[in-house]
């Protein structure tokens, strides 16, 4: 009989078990529920139901709008910050960067509770501006995830490229628009994918802000708490499909840009 020998591959076994139990298996269960009805028969009614129900479609659009606006606001705040940080000749840049992302270190519920109090103080009644509050909360929570990748991309840019552009007759604005901005697209894409997708689903932010509007995450939650496993699973599956499409699309752009930069460094 062959005796079992410890190899490097066996180090992967614990994770493989984890993957099987907590990722692959639940996914299969999810697919099963999504395409069956209460009697356990195959059906696509959950799918058609999602796209015909004005409520679910409305929530999808609403989530999309919150995520889009949050992403845009994050981008507008993060890009100048990251750009200034990365291009300045400040000493101890890393410390400055830490200050900007330090909010991540404070406990999430504490942060959100504080934000809720501040917003209440300003707006009086939080229910008046649900959309705005959702965007503010999400931005507060996700901004560091936008700053970091953009900062990294810009600070890795070869300064000689900017000098070359100026040498060839581009003034500061032209050099920024034609060199820095296009070359920081990979950072922007990572930032966007790290903000946009969570912003579509992270309903805990809304809960903490006593926001009763529905986004995709809260919708799924409500289906499950009403014991509608089949409808909830389908929504989760649709969301998963959206995420996969988005990730594949952005990764493609990301890779080609990285290859370009890598080639120039060789």
């Amino acid at each position: 009989m062959k005796t079992w020998k410890f190899s490097r591959k066996s180090l992967g076994i614990p994770y493989a078990v984890f993957l099987l139990l907590f990722v692959a298996l639940p996914l299969l269960v999810l697919v099963y529920y999504a395409f069956t009805n209460g009697e356990g028969h195959f059906t696509v009614s959950n799918l058609t139901g999602f796209f015909t129900d004005p409520n679910t479609l409305g929530t999808l659009c609403y989530s999309f709008a919150i995520a889009a606006v949050t992403t845009l606001v994050c981008l507008l705040l993060a890009y100048p910050t990251a750009y200034i940080l990365a291009t300045s000749n400040l000493k101890r840049k890393q410390v400055w960067l830490l200050i900007f992302i330090m909010s991540m270190w404070i406990n999430f519920s504490l942060r959100m509770t504080a934000l809720k109090e501040v917003l209440t103080l300003i707006e009086g009644n939080l229910a008046r501006y649900p959309f705005l509050n959702a965007v503010v909360g999400m931005t507060y929570d996700f901004l560091p995830f936008m700053i970091l990748p953009i900062y990294n991309t810009i600070s890795r840019l070869d300064g000689a490229l900017i000098e070359a552009a100026k040498d060839l007759g581009a003034n500061d604005t032209a050099a920024f628009l034609k060199i820095t901005l296009p070359l920081s697209v990979p950072g922007i894409i990572s930032g966007v994918s790290m903000v946009f997708l969570p912003a579509m689903t992270n309903y805990v932010v809304l809960d903490m802000l006593y926001n009763s509007t529905y986004i995709m995450g809260s919708l799924i939650g409500s289906y499950f708490s009403a014991y509608n496993w089949h409808g909830g699973s389908m929504i989760a599956l649709i969301l998963l499909a959206i995420i996969i499409v988005f990730t594949v699309a952005t990764n493609g752009a990301d890779d080609s840009d990285r290859a370009g930069i890598g080639g120039a460094l060789l």
């Binding site: 070869d158 000689a160 490229l161 100026k166 040498d167 060839l168 581009a170 032209a174 290859a259 890598g262």
Partner: protein, 480 residues
């Protein structure tokens, strides 16, 4: 090629001091003639790149003027100067293809698409890259990227083309080819080239004029032949080609004493003047012992392909010789040099240089005495590891015993003493001159090494003295 006397660019009293207080370039004065190929040559950190960057507009001089066709452009931004640069690592735009890279400068000038296409095509022909328009620059080889970088600069028809060590990233064969091509391109385009390199051979091959720089200052400006044959000081002699450099003294009319012998020379310099003598390795003739000016013992012979490199030690002096004839290690030989081939310079500075040994404990030793310093203090960033090895700043293990250390000490920092044993070395006073407020002595050791010592007191000729040299007054460097 037309090379007029018109000065296209003139640098006047340029000084660049950084916020950190470091002065990269000081009191730099230079004019460049229209159409000239001029090279800034020097070791890294000599200020050559900083000077180039000031001409390009990336750095603003702290003091001085840069006159382009008589107009001061020192504070003009780079995009307003009719000057283009070929960058050290090309700095091609990775998100644009070859065509767009080259067209970048023309687009800034809002040129019509037709004209851009025509100009890009013409310049691609010039650099032999026809058909590469759509290629992504990251798929090009190093040599091709280099050509795109040149094309991108010259397509703008600049008045001056700046080249910052453009061939540094290429392999030797490629570099040789590009040298010739650049030279040819210079002739064809008639643009003024300002070239920066640390490679003396590259400078000698390509330039009309070479500016040798060291520590932010111009050491010598001249044609390649002049720089090679008539170096102005010990630095230039050492940097351009292999040289034997000796401290010495004029002992009579057309007679100079250095390396333990009295040589005939052609430079008429007043007797008693301290000099630096330069002898090129290829100019030393090996003769039977006793028949040359000096004798010595062969310590190493290395075959170099077209010649042998023979090192001969006479006393503490060393002579490197290039000869087509081999020699045997340990053999005693005589050496002579044709008077025409001895280049004598009046020593501006009489700093004494001597070679120190490294002992098994990694401490410096000279004349059998241990100096109060260690290798780790001399090699910047190096330290001793627990297992007794020396690692450099990058963490690589180095063997200091393979290195040689040159110690330098100024004449006024050496003290003479009657207590011969107290000195690091001892010797006899072989020469003295009164220099107004002090005497300048030459002390010759038993190994025929000369030290120059300044002292305010009068000693006698042939006095036996010890030389006290405080370690803290010495400076050390690695011999290259």
């Amino acid at each position: 090629m037309s090379r007029s006397d018109e000065h296209i660019i003139e640098l006047k009293n340029i000084t660049k001091t950084y916020d950190t207080g470091f002065t990269a370039v000081s009191d730099f004065n230079l004019y460049v003639r229209k159409g000239e190929f001029i090279t800034f040559l020097g070791p890294s950190g000599c200020g050559k790149t900083t000077t180039l960057r000031m001409i390009a507009g990336f750095e603003i001089p702290t003091e001085g003027e840069i006159l382009l066709n008589g107009k001061n452009i020192a504070s003009l931004p780079p995009y307003e100067r009719p000057i283009n640069t070929v960058f050290q690592r090309y700095a091609l735009f990775p998100h644009m293809n070859t065509y767009e890279n080259i067209a970048f400068g023309l687009r800034q000038k809002k040129m019509s698409e037709d004209e851009i296409r025509r100009k890009v095509r013409r310049v691609l022909e010039l650099v032999d890259l026809e058909g590469f328009e759509r290629r992504s620059v990251s798929t090009l080889s190093g040599g091709q990227q280099q050509r795109v970088a040149i094309a991108r600069a010259v397509v703008n028809e600049p008045e001056i083309l700046l080249l910052d060590e453009p061939l540094g990233a290429l392999d030797l064969k490629m570099r040789k080819e590009m040298q010739l091509e650049l030279k040819e391109m210079h002739e064809r385009l008639g643009i003024t080239f300002i070239y920066v390199t640390h490679d003396q051979e590259e400078a000698l091959t390509m330039s009309d004029t070479i500016v040798v720089m060291s520590e932010g200052r111009i050491q010598q400006i001249g044609k390649p032949e002049d720089i090679y044959n008539e170096p102005k000081n010990a630095f230039v002699a050492d940097f351009i080609g292999d040289s034997n450099i000796f401290n010495g003294i004029m002992t009579g009319k057309l007679k100079a004493r250095f390396s333990g012998g009295e040589f005939d020379c052609v430079d008429d310099i007043e007797k008693g003047t301290h000099i630096t003598a330069v002898v090129r390795p290829e100019d030393v003739i090996i003769v039977p012992p006793g028949q040359g000016t000096i004798d010595g013992v062969v310590t190493s012979v290395i075959f170099k392909g077209i010649h042998y490199e023979i090192t001969v030690e006479s006393g503490k002096n060393e002579m490197v010789i290039q000869s087509v004839h081999s020699a045997t290690v340990g053999e005693r030989v005589g050496m002579k040099v044709d008077p025409d081939n001895i280049h004598i310079m009046i020593a501006e500075d009489h700093t004494n240089y001597f070679e120190a040994d490294i002992n098994s404990a990694f401490r410096l030793e000279f004349n059998g005495k241990v100096l109060d310093t260690s290798v780790t203090k001399i090699i910047r960033g190096s330290k001793r590891t627990e297992d007794g090895q020396i690692v450099d700043a990058n963490g690589d293990v180095i063997d200091p015993r393979k290195m040689r250390i040159i110690a330098a000490i100024r004449p006024e920092d050496i003290e003479m003493t009657d207590q011969v044993d107290e000195g690091l070395v001892d010797g006899y006073i072989s020469d003295l001159i009164y220099k107004g407020d002090h005497y300048s002595y030459v002390i010759r050791t038993d190994l025929a090494q000369d030290f120059i010592v300044d002292d305010e007191y009068l000693w006698n000729m042939d006095d036996h003295v010890g030389l006290i040299m405080p370690t803290e007054k010495m400076s050390f460097r690695l011999k290259k």
